[in-house]
Amino acid sequence: MTEINTSHAADTIAFPKGEAAALGMSRTHLVMMVGLVALVAMAPFAFYPLFVVKVLCFALFALSLNLMLGNLGLLSFGHAAYFGLSSYSAAHAAKVMGFTPELAILFGVVVALVVGAVIGALSVRRKGIYFAMVTLAFAQMVYFFSLQARFTGGEDGIQQVPRGQLFGLISLQNDMTLYALVATLFVLGVLALYRITYSPFGHILRSIRDNEGRAISLGYRVNLYKWLAFVLGAGFAGLAGGMKAISFQLASLTDVYWGMSGEVVLMALIGGMNTFFGPIVGAALVVWMQNELASFGAWVTIVQGLVFMVCILAFRKGILGTLGQFLTRKL
């Protein structure tokens, strides 16, 4: 069999198969995955656990957005809808319906999947800026629904959501116990998203991104693939939203606001949308900035804007994208 040349690095999430090591990951990715798990395991001892919980929720959220953005080149500008609706649903399930936390989160995911399936079916026929606008419009509808519906508590949101007892057995009152749950869900979520990205299905998504007309001419019904990617992305955004609601015992309008949709796009872009791990880095950076600069009030948005501008001007491929280019590795 011919030796497969892997020297040419393309600007894409795909990695050359010649590099494949264990678990269907490239060696670079395997090292990064192990590093990530180690980091997640050690972080609560170095930082305030709830801060890391927030980073993990947003990292998963950013990864869920990048499933479409990175692999299909489709920017959903209303991704907060699934995050927020799941946040409300999980909070409502835990507080009013008395669900245990794992069931509350699951309920949130199911709601996000269903809403994602409907909005996705109506959006995937559009491309580029039109797709972004359509998804934003639907997200605004979800926002106004959340503002008006009774169970969401309007301006107040749903407060004092009980963390409850995992499987009805383990109390999550302790931050470290909660952290263990969130970290586990996060790692499982990352592994699942990684698997999707590098599945036979994931390869087809990238072929559609590269050349949609050609993918059709090969017999692929591209809208179905886009739709499935959309629904999966919404589901993982829902997982992030549910985790966030249970952890911070709060679901509010902020979670469904368009600003939230913008922020998660920012995270994916800063980290590098053409890398798998980039959105995690972007999320960590943005959440860290918000935390550090909280005392400066409105200045946070200005600094955030400046960071974004520097990223666009200096490293257009995002932090990991640029780093990967420098190291000639796909990160």
Binding site: S7, H8, I196
Partner: protein, 252 residues
Amino acid sequence: MVDDIALRASGLIMEFKGFRAVDGVDLAIPRGTIHALIGPNGAGKSTCFNLLTKVLTPTAGAIHFEGRDITGLSPANVARLGIVRSFQISAVFGTMTVLENVRIALQRHRHGDSWDFWRSDRVLAHLHEEALALLASVGLADYAGHVANDLPYGRKRALEIATTLALEPRVLLLDEPMAGMTQEDVTRISALIRKVAVGRTVVMVEHNLSVVADLSDRITVLARGKILAEGEYADVARDPRVIEAYIGVAHA
């Protein structure tokens, strides 16, 4: 009695806001032949081509593939029947490797759809041998690991053909396969088309008349949306109406 017409178009009409780009075209392309559509700019070749590939739906008329009416099918479903098109500008999956390009086509051909987002792409490894054989058949075996965008133009077209062949198409629709090519590439791709046309039906739109003369069994000349002449190249080329349409006749 088996109908030996692979692709039949009857009474095709395509209107764009009152303008008839294709005006009553009938085509009958026998199985196993190479058929060329030619004509001056604006004759309706590309519209005709887009009708055959289902990118456009005709205003009136019908298209049959081996006796089956395919007028209402979507482009993806037409491809699934084995009618596969190429594109004027090279159509490769640019960020994917050459091997992956062909593998995407094999994936569709061997597995139908790939909804399996829960499986590792290692399950696709069994397609690599076949993909490499296809690449070898178009002279790209040494490039398997290269990213498609890094290939020179002529090689991209060869990759496109390998990708198309992975589907084992029954009808190949080639949209100006020689557009923008150097003479060296033209020679190579001509030979390739001749090779892959064995046992297949090929319809092509092409401007390069020497290629058309060289490759095609029959040609159809279009002008202003209508068929001007049809037959073997040598006969059609002598037809005064064709000469007039191409070169124009000085007024007396």
